[in-house]
């Protein structure tokens, strides 16, 4: 185990082991305080950053923050590390790497080339030395393109997940939200519902309704019921239309066990989804959600800070070539991210780490009612992420998720972002919006009156069903 010292403000600080150094260097957040691993003073935090800046990137290949023998995520990270891709940056320290990332030489091609050579710990460490501005500057350069029925992640585009959650999974209610979202130009990344009841028959009913709606209106997007991966496998066995297999994942084997998954079951689920042959040629059939604090919440954090563990979750995602990944950044609550400032910082870190590792990284810009945050904080984070080229954002009607009891973004928020920053939906979906009279050719989305819209028929059916 390494040991580092740094002198700051006339005092000498000592850090035993990489985990302790990373935790002390991390920007302040309540989850690390809760775990008892945060820096005990602001000066100690900055001292840790001085020490971290001088650390060779190579150090992360010789010292694991979670033991190799005890954790399959560590084994995945080290066993699949691409030494050839790493060679280009192997001589750098963490601080040098931060400077290189910001350099004009580090363009989209160069960043993509080194992705397989990066470990989550290297990326997390680097983020701790970067201001929010630095994170955004690098995120913006790193585009990741994925495709199913729509193509996501292209320059100048901003996609959305339409999240039509309902407290009792009422099919008419879910159809009504979906209609509202489509009329506002949302849903190009996925129409994805979190079921209130996590049962197989219920999941099948939801999938059949969403898939029927997609086919009837020929909408170039994907549908998903965000049920446990073992449910999805059972649902596929029963022949229901599964586009994407969803799972929440975390950065340690123990935390994943808390979610009831391991790498083997994820592999099996992906194979099952590929065998349905619904996806495009890129075979991107997985959708993952993550969020800082989940490993601590599952008491499986090994004394590692929550942001580093979050980046390790991206190594899990990366192994399964997902269409979509998002951090549910403010959902976990004030115990882990106390206020708007911490949520905004974490959202940018997660997007940075995910993109640098090559993931199609989206963000659920959100907060709960027990956090010290409000809509003003979300306005800030969504604008920063849109400037940073986020893969997709999540939207719910009126920003109010009445099933999961938290606030995400509204359809209106994304309309405003697209106007303010000149961002357009996924190209196939944009064409569909134009065909439906929702977007003007080559230009802005102008939600039509429901009564006059081509989707009114859908509304009639939604009203008549059940």
């Amino acid at each position: 185990m390494g040991c580092w010292t740094a002198i700051a403000g006339g005092e000498q600080y000592r850090f035993e082991g990489l985990a302790q150094l990373l935790a002390a260097a991390s920007p302040r957040r309540s989850g690390d305080d809760l775990a008892g691993i945060a820096a005990t003073s602001d000066a100690q935090r900055v001292a840790a950053r001085f020490a971290l800046a001088d650390l060779p990137l190579r150090a992360f290949l010789s010292e694991a923050v979670v033991p190799y023998e005890a954790d399959e995520v560590t084994r995945l990270i080290l066993d699949t590390h691409d030494a050839a891709a790493f060679a280009r940056i192997a001589h750098l320290t963490v601080g040098d790497f931060r400077d290189w990332l910001l350099s004009h030489e580090a363009d989209a091609v160069a960043l993509a080339a080194i992705s397989p050579g990066l470990t989550p710990e290297m990326v997390a460490a680097t983020s701790k030395l970067m201001r929010n501005q630095d994170l955004i500057a690098v995120e913006r350069k790193r585009r990741v393109v994925t495709a199913f029925r729509s193509t996501l992640g292209l320059e100048g585009r901003l996609a959305t997940r339409l999240q039509p959650n309902h407290p009792t999974d009422d099919l008419r209610g879910i159809a009504a939200y979906t209609l509202d979202g489509l009329l506002n130009g949302s849903g190009d990344a996925v129409i994805g519902v979190n079921p209130a009841t996590d049962s197989v028959p219920n999941g099948i009913a939801l999938l059949e309704m969403l898939d029927g709606l997609r086919r009837q209106y020929d909408i170039p997007t994907q549908t998903c019921v965000l049920t446990h991966v073992t449910n999805a496998m059972e649902i596929m066995q029963r022949g229901a239309p599964v586009d994407l297999v969803f799972q929440s994942v975390a950065g340690t084997e123990g935390a994943n066990r808390g979610f009831g998954v391991d790498l083997a079951i994820l592999r099996e689920a992906r194979d099952a989804a590929l065998s349905l042959k619904r996806a495009g040629p890129s075979g991107e059939v997985m959708y993952f959600e993550t969020g800082q604090g989940s490993a601590l919440s599952a008491e499986a954090h090994h004394g590692v800070d929550q942001q580093t563990l979050e980046a390790r979750a991206y190594a899990v995602c990366r192994a399964f070539r997902p269409l979509l990944v998002n951090t549910v950044v403010g959902f976990i609550g004030s115990e882990y991210l106390y206020d708007g400032k911490q949520i905004i910082r974490a959202g940018l870190e997660d997007h940075f780490c995910g993109k640098l590792l090559g993931l199609p990284m989206g963000v659920d810009v959100c907060y709960t009612n027990h956090a010290e945050a409000d809509g003003d904080d979300m306005d800030g984070l969504m604008t920063l992420l849109a400037a940073a080229g986020v893969h997709f954002l999540i939207c719910v009607p009126g920003a109010d998720d009445i099933m999961l009891n938290y606030q995400s973004l509204s359809f209106h928020d994304v309309l405003a972002l697209r106007t303010m920053l000149g961002l357009r939906p996924a190209p196939e979906f944009e064409d569909w919006l134009i065909r439906m009279g929702i977007a003007r050719p080559g230009g802005p989305i102008r939600p039509p009156e429901l009564a006059a819209s081509r989707l009114m028929q859908l509304a009639h059916e939604a009203g008549a069903r059940g």
Partner: protein, 254 residues
Amino acid sequence: MADTPAQDPWAQLRATTRARIGLGQAGDALPLREVLGFQMAHALARDAVHAPLDAAGPEAALRPHPVLHARSAAPDRSTYLRRPDLGRRLHPKSLSTLPNGPFDIAFVLADGLSANAVERHAAPVFRACLARLPGWRIAPAVIATQARVALGDEIGERLGARLAVMLIGERPGLSVPDSLGIYLTHAPRVGRRDSERNCISNIHTAGGLDPELAAAKLVWLMREALARKLTGTGLKDDADPAALASTAGLPPPT
């Protein structure tokens, strides 16, 4: 948007949901009345998080079933919000007050993040379960404060119960500040993982799951849990409505 409900096709859709749909526009943004309505709902939800549990109401509603009181190791609301670890463990003084069973089920009524939810919906769920469980050995109901879901593990273990049922206030949402959640755990003991529980959520009277139906689902899960000796991801909620009705009133599987 049309002016009168008769002309507004959203009116019919809004009847199916409490979601904020068909809100109209001011440019790309929401109309001001919607912005202010949202801010008021957020203010009410924040107030609900901090409201203390008044145990007298639920206690009266549970009678004649015996009732015990417990509290977590979190001394107050602000500590509770920052220290979930303390909310998962019993206060030392509460440990000694719990009798040792054996019992088939321990019910815990816990404030969680919404005391209002427990005050309004926990007793109806409990009574509806009791009516479906003749012959089951049911522990005294425990009303727990500053409690997280996993506190039910320690209470259930202490009581010597085969199953722990946590009836707990969910985090308040904007539309519903009083939603109740149920967590069922087989062989409760400290250190159980969340994937080892089954959850039934969104129990409230504003378009959520009705307490009677929640109890029917819960009783079905309880019987399956005892028969298969597990809860969590290994126990799928696969019940059709007929199965929910047919198992009511049967004694517990051994």
